[in-house]
Amino acid sequence: MLWILLALFVVYPLAAMFGQAFLVDGRPSLAPLLSILALPNHRAAMWNSLVLGALVGVIGTAVGFLFAFTATRCNLPARWVRLLDVATLLPLISPPFTTSIAFVFSFGPRGLITYELLGVKGTNVYGLPSTLAAEVLTYFPIAYLALRPVLAAIGGNIEEMAFSLGSSRWRVFRTVTLPLTVPGLANAFLLLFAASLADFATPLILAGSRFPVLPTEAYLQITGLFDLKGGAVLSFLLLVPAAIVFLAQRYWVGRGHYVTVTGKSGAQSTLDGVSPGARAVLVAACAAVALSILYLYALLLYASVVVAFGANHALTLKHYVVIFTEGRKAIIDTLIIAFIGMPLGGLFGVLVGYLVARGEFRGRQAMEIASMVNYALPGTIVGIAYLIAFNDPPIALTGGALIIVACYVFRYSPTGTRTTIALLKQIDRGIEEASHSLGAGSFTTFRRVTLPLVLPAFFAGLGVVFIRSMTAISATIFLVSIDWVLITVRILENMTELSLGPAAAFSVFVIVLVMAVTSAISALLRRLPGPPGAASVAGLGG
């Protein structure tokens, strides 16, 4: 059953996309590929995508490292750490283009900084610099989350050891800390590279026509030129680097190239990891980044409650009235889809995770990989593949809610799968055997022991499916129709129509809703009986 679902919603669409890209009149052909590559604009898009990804990877990793190092080495007061956490959490749970919208408010033609403060007229916010800055601010939290445990693990004793051997702090950093973090840095770079490569919303708003990238080009090819084949080829061009990065990342993490420091990480180091001067600089740099994020979100909030940002700053609630009247359909549709997808995605994730971790059948690994594919691929590819696969008979689903739900379930349930596997690895098989030895059969054991223990994974998976159902756009923008509209798509339309107020109000609404649901789920997770730490394993990762 799971196999059929995976085949239908993972393998089949990709196959259909390949077919579209490389079959002409039923025969394999490279002609579509060559004709797409012949256009300079497309070649530029490919090059731009790679450059942007590399830059976001390098700068985002650096900022993430800065944050992680500051958080683990500077003995910050708890309240400051909290500030860092909030500043890094916001981009993770927002719709992907929130930062971009706020960027327009800040640096656009009538932006707060460019126009109001500096008095520059006719600035052009669109292009590589702003796209890069927005993506860094959006995605560096991924690097922060990846690097923080690495730095925490190599802290304490190893560095103390080096100190005790007479090294200076700087020398310890250079000769011990940094080399040990290199695999972690590589991992973070690859994660950010992939995220930037896949990012659709930021370039759509900020890149402008002079800086085309692959996801937006593919989108325009399909929605502007109605050229499915061209879109498929462009997706394929995007798929190649994405697949390489994905494999490289798995190689680094999987092959033990990754730092695994065994044993206890030791008590909080009693030595200060950095000198007071360096500490001040680090904290100031972090605070600057954190404050600019908070500034952007504050700006978004402000723009949602003034009549017309940049022109008339009288307070009003009319944008909220608009989104709850004209925008009502989008809100209701999105919520319906989110609430249908949520339990399905949660359940699917846990089931696959359980089978992969505890099942004894051939092809377990294949099942795990198949379940991860849609998650690892850029959303644009998944969206285009679904569009191609389900547009025509035998399986015509486009236009309905089902295809959107399916897209979310198969794209975002892997978090639940991952969490389930991690939890089950922590839970000794002996616990299930104990249940058997006490007379319980397999079914009773699953219901009374295994299921309650993987409940945190279920809720975590559920939460992620919900967050993404509210915020995702890259895949589903290809799948919406007149009957089913999504909030994120409406925001994008508002942006292109330059009705910025409603766009800001929608964004604020989504962020508030997502935060409410996320904290409700976190509270629930803390309440669940079970070993401490189960909930943290299930922590809501992006």
């Binding site: 030895s437 319980a440 022991v449």
Partner: protein, 366 residues
């Protein structure tokens, strides 16, 4: 009908695993064993010798690749573990982390569909038995290691299993608690009288609690017997060295008259009462002499073996010596050192062999 003389019978059971490098490996190789009703039998052996695997086959967590398993009158080889009516205590306790102490203990009773009143009674009784009254509402992670151990024990015995199985239940406890808990396990086992198979790699623990001990090595039972049997009459050098400490001296049997033997040890004649190796006249064998049976004399005294003290370790109630004698290094323990003479390291000494308590082993030197 007479009471069944066996509670557990293993008939030639084996467990083969496919090892990635070594190919098919027998973790347990054709093991046969009878456990008497009410007996506490220990499987003792070094890590990796197949103890856990044997126990898991008795529990039904794993199917033997050959052989039969009988519990009571019933052949259970093909019976699932949930129908075997056994109690298993895991090395890491395997408590259900999401259930309270009460629910952990009640789990097996709920599966058996006991009514609430009977269940409360049974759980209360067993918690009193393990000294955990008042802990009903606690969660497992709120308990200390020793308390978790007791819950695991209570959970296993409350269902009144036909047999109790322990897999290194004390290895996660600190040394003091280990000694205390093993006393309690022994007391409980006697009180409830359930046939028990206990796995450990700690020979002292095994000797302290067992009626009989099966010493395992490389998937087979090397020797089965009481603690005294194993200590005084080890069947092999492996058992001699694994149970307590032993000096293995190469010797030739010059004469034999009942249990009186005349041995040639390092060119010297020695007469003693000995056990083992009955038909060994004229052969070279190994003589097992425990360290506390040897005594140290000043050099040149009587018929003792000459040697040199390598190290002397003072341990309060005893002193341990390592003494080089010829090409062997002998362990000697002096009890009650207050009265004994001191022999600092480097001293030339004589080692006196005992007149009784020597055990002979017929096998090539290990």
């Amino acid at each position: 009908m007479a009471a069944n003389p066996v509670a557990i019978r293993l008939e030639g059971i084996s467990a083969r695993f496919d090892h990635r490098v070594k190919g098919a490996v027998a973790a347990v190789d054709n093991v046969s064993l009878d456990v008497a009703p009410g007996e506490l039998l220990t499987l003792l052996g070094p890590s990796g010798c197949g103890k856990t695997t044997t126990l898991r086959m008795i529990a039904g967590f794993q199917k033997p690749s050959a052989g039969r398993i009988q519990i009571g009158d019933q052949d259970v080889t093909e019976v699932m573990s949930n129908d075997r009516n056994i109690g298993f205590v895991f090395q890491n306790y395997a408590l259900f982390p999401h259930l309270s102490v009460y629910e952990n203990v009640a789990y097996g009773l709920r599966v058996r569909k006991l009514d609430d009143a009977a269940m409360r009674g049974a759980v209360g009784d067993v918690l009193a038995l393990v000294g955990l009254k008042g802990y009903e509402g606690q969660m497992p992670h709120q308990l200390s290691g020793g308390e978790q151990q007791r819950v695991a024990l209570a959970r296993a015995i409350v269902i009144r299993p036909r047999v109790l199985l322990f897999d290194e239940p004390l290895s996660n406890l600190d040394a003091k608690l280990r000694v205390q808990m093993r006393g309690e396990i022994q007391r409980l086992q006697r009180e409830v009288g359930i046939t028990t198979v206990y796995v450990t790699h700690d020979q002292e623990e095994a000797m302290a609690i067992s009626d009989r001990i099966a010493v395992m090595n490389k998937g087979v039972i090397a020797q089965l017997g009481s603690a005294e049997d194993l200590y005084q009459r080890p069947a092999s050098a492996f058992v001699a060295k694994f149970i307590g400490r032993a000096n293995l001296l190469r010797a030739t049997v010059l004469a034999r008259d009942g249990d009186r033997v005349t041995l040639d040890i390092a060119g010297r004649r020695h007469q003693a009462a000995a056990t083992g190796a009955a038909s060994s006249l004229g052969k070279t064998i190994q003589a097992v002499v425990r360290p506390e049976a040897l005594a140290i004399d000043a050099a040149g005294a009587g018929a003792s073996l000459p040697g040199t003290v390598v190290t002397r370790t003072y341990l309060g109630e005893k002193v341990e010596y390592l003494i080089a004698a010829g090409d062997e290094t002998l362990q000697v323990v002096q009890l009650g050192p207050a009265e004994a003479r001191r022999f600092p390291s480097g001293t030339s000494v004589g080692i006196r062999l005992p007149a009784t308590g020597i055990h002979l082993i017929e096998e090539p030197e290990a």
